[in-house]
Symmetry: C2
Subunit: 343 residues, 2 copies
């Protein structure tokens, strides 16, 4: 949300611009630094073995809203988010460190709830909690998570590496988490006007679950290894398909064509977005919170990828000069832009 924040002297630019703004602070001096600031996670090497590290701070009322977020689910979701950064390097998370800052609105029972959620996600991901710090925070709840993962150097994927004619794949389906958020926000408004109102989410469970309890896609990384597929590039989809595709294309110096009709979406998401008067393609391209994976593969892997459930081919890589394109249902080419429902 920093991207839109105005200050008295300077408008804060987006994350990628900030990285260039401050790039002078990120020289790569140690030979053990393999991937530095600017990818999904950092990669550190010791004697040929690579450790992948991702760290994120989440702040109440910026990254989450406790009005509708149960603490247990919050713990689960924030863990999924940092694990997703590790998975996006084609690595598997193995350890997590937790720092929590709480105000006097909180008691040990609430910390317990939050930790139960974090531990639940660690359990799903076979990850150990190896660090824990609890401190005071004047007001907002602050949760800082650091995930550590393991990767054989030959399997490591970064955003850089996609080449012309390769296929663009994504896991899962899109816009469900964003649609879930819209429903929650709508009910919050109703509740603010009438605190006795009971939310009605009948039949919308999947949308809420995708927003409140997204799962780390460790299964996809495991399936890729099982099928002997080494993606040529990879990133996680946290701010919509357009943002993820642009990250891969810009890092790899290539263009892309993505087919509107190939964007995976459940019927429930489609119908609910229609009820909410939102164009479903826009939601898939720019909605956030999916924490799915996007990766590119060589054409030779086409038969193998079809054996993995929950993976869709949504387009292909082009040369840089062709630009970043969405091919619509009626075969029009529209420039792909990241509108950034970013956090």
């Amino acid at each position: 949300m920093t991207e839109n924040k105005e200050t008295s002297t300077t408008r804060l630019p987006g994350k990628q611009e900030l990285l260039s703004e401050f790039s002078k602070y990120f020289p790569k001096e140690n030979s053990s630094t393999i991937v530095a600031a600017g990818d999904d996670a950092a990669v550190v090497e010791t004697n040929g073995n690579q450790t992948v590290v991702s760290s994120k701070a989440f702040i109440e009322n910026v990254h989450f809203d406790l009005t509708y977020f149960p603490l247990k689910h919050l713990g689960y979701k924030l863990s999924t988010i940092v694990f997703s950064d590790i998975l996006a390097m084609n690595a598997v998370p193995s350890q997590l460190m937790v720092s929590i800052g709480i105000s006097d609105r909180f008691d040990l029972k609430m910390v317990n709830e939050l930790l139960t959620g974090i531990a639940g996600c660690c359990d799903t991901s076979h990850t150990d909690i190896v660090g824990f710090d609890l401190t005071a925070s004047p007001r907002e709840l602050v949760v800082s998570l650091t995930a550590v993962g393991e990767c054989e150097p030959t399997l490591l994927c970064s955003r850089k590496g996609a080449a012309e004619n390769e296929l663009i794949c994504v896991s899962g389906d899109f816009a469900a988490a964003y649609t879930g958020l819209l429903l929650l926000e709508r009910e919050k408004k109703v509740f603010n006007v009438n605190p006795n109102a009971q939310p009605d989410f009948t039949g919308k469970d999947y949308l809420l679950q995708r927003q409140i309890k997204p799962e780390p896609r460790t299964d996809i990384i495991e399936a890729l290894r099982r099928e002997n597929i080494l993606p040529t590039s990879m990133t996680n989809v946290c701010d919509g398909i357009a943002d993820a595709a642009l990250k891969i294309c810009k890092a790899s110096g290539v263009g892309c064509s993505i087919f509107e009709e190939k964007l995976p979406m459940t019927e429930l998401t489609f119908v609910t977005l229609k009820d909410l008067d939102i164009v479903h393609t826009v939601a898939a391209l720019n909605g956030g919170d999916d924490y799915e994976l996007m990766f590119t593969i060589k054409q030779g892997d086409f038969e193998n990828i079809k054996r993995i459930d929950n993976v869709s081919i949504i387009g292909y890589i082009t040369d840089a000069a062709s630009g970043y394109n969405l091919v619509t249902g009626d075969n029009l080419r529209v420039e792909l832009r990241a509108q950034g429902f970013t956090q």
Copy 2:
């Protein structure tokens, strides 16, 4: 500060108690987890190589006060703090990840100041910044830092390992940072009453420097390697000598005798504490913010340790039954307690 915070339902216990309270969340399942929650840093192993990781979140008005903390110095100090956790495992920091949450009181120039300080400390420590994230924070400045370090498995030290008759050593001198804090707090009170008052810190530079810009003691780790000394246990001194000694003793299942007269302190610290009417031993035992190292060595290393500047032997390890003792100048034995000027 959480230790003294009362909530409506539960009093938050200290950090070590919290670790036991929540210990069910910290099972060690992965063979790659070497040291888990409860030591200065976590240790992760991949094919025999160890990576040391420490992560901490710092929140304005809990961990630091911007009234007297220039942002550049703050960045330097917070980096020293996380590096100190890595050094406390007898490892050397190699990478740092930075997450900053800022409110609209901040602009890019201020973020630049903070990063200059962080980068300055990274420069001193030959450490690369490999991750950077900037996000919004509703009010307080939040800085979350994750340090990664390298260690040969044979050199790794934890808090556990001290044995009877071994010597207890510390780097540097004590209570200076705490005395610096007292001076800053005193001037802040004066300023609050009379905003035109100019602070007078003449001759107190060293005390302020120890509070505002503590240095990571990489030099001590390097010197230990040069002199071929492998400590049997190690921790960093962030909350006073008593707290550090108790951490080592409790983890190692031993007792200790520490000599009051051996506690290293500069003349300036001693005199200033006297002016402030504070017992200097209490300040050395319980004052915080030193970020020095405490470690135990075998008696056979006595001659070698004398060759390292800035290291003092302050006592020795006893059996557990003898307890944790301070031997006073008049040869009385007083039980050592951590009073916790903790953060």
